[in-house]
Symmetry: C2
Subunit: 190 residues, 2 copies
Amino acid sequence: MEALQQHIKKIAGIPAADTREIASFFRQIQVKKKENLLREGMVCGLNYFVEQGCLRLFFTGHNGTEHTVQFALENWWLSDYTSFSTQRPSEFYIQAVEPSTVMVITCQAQEDMLERFPAMERYFRLIHQRVHGATQFRMKAMHDQSRKELYESFSSRFPEFVQRVPQYLLASYLGFTPEYLSQLRKKKIS
Amino acid sequence: MEALQQHIKKIAGIPAADTREIASFFRQIQVKKKENLLREGMVCGLNYFVEQGCLRLFFTGHNGTEHTVQFALENWWLSDYTSFSTQRPSEFYIQAVEPSTVMVITCQAQEDMLERFPAMERYFRLIHQRVHGATQFRMKAMHDQSRKELYESFSSRFPEFVQRVPQYLLASYLGFTPEYLSQLRKKKIS
DNA sequence: CGGATCGTTGATCAACTTCAACGGTCGTGG
DNA sequence: CCACGACCGTTGAAGTTGATCAACGATCCG
């Protein structure tokens, strides 16, 4: 609750007097490790802000393996935004990677909140715009490098993240098998 | 100019009286095929809306081959959003795939426009949110399918686009070589 | 007509996956 | 508190996928 208000203030310059009321549109939840907040087939009616811990958005491919599309650490938003926008069933799961405390807002409450505080449109615009930029960058990284280079540049750029997250999840994010990641690590050490 | 006003009205429900003045913050340009609107190393100080034609965002990888990150057809926005936000040099190119007519707004003019018409924050919020959703979907497609399936599902989903765009550009978007795309097409026909 | 651009074809090669098996560690219930 | 099982990381061999390279055709445009 503190973290969300801080973030809104920092990004959109909204005064604390308002952020308090804004926060009242949310509810705070605690989730255990591996707990699911969204399952394939459900409508994703919620938008999530991670205050503490880590969530991930993933899906299960045809061969049954899981592929994670995004992680959300502290101060990141996460949702299936097509399901959230259209209220159609999702093709994704959202799951806690660690025990986490998360601020949650329903689609309807978000609309109400935006009507009451139009300045929050700017906040979300900036959030999504930033993600858009980050995605362009990620696409560049993915196409520009071999998987080996991808892993190396990723782990030197986000060393703390590589520590926090199990290797098989990192592999499922970077797009290769845990076995291959093992090979890469072996070479790197020697 | 018509197309942009229509789009703003449709997405954010802004009345024609306002969209006219909003449009005055833009200027319209014509670009020739293969003309560059942005080069690597330049600051991307502009945001582009395609009224007619097609643009692409791409970069050149270490081996010199081009990789296109996004296409923008009619009624799509395009920019390097990290460079646009931070005013730092871009790592990308923006180029016309076809002769195009494009609405252009500078970073500063966009800020002025948003101050005068705060409802446009909502418009851009919805645009970026939609892109965010589309990106999640694209990530799923890329990881869920072999390159062969990727091409087939893409070309059955966007047949008109596959017609419009040369094959080597499509290959550079899907992430493989033109030669390999050729192989796939041969198999598909027979 | 002539040159550049784009698509095609086939051979070779590297990157990465798959499968199967083993070892360590963590947490939970007895 | 110990022991068992589940989970996670590792290893190596064999098999695929897709890249690379080089050469040739076709088409478009000046």
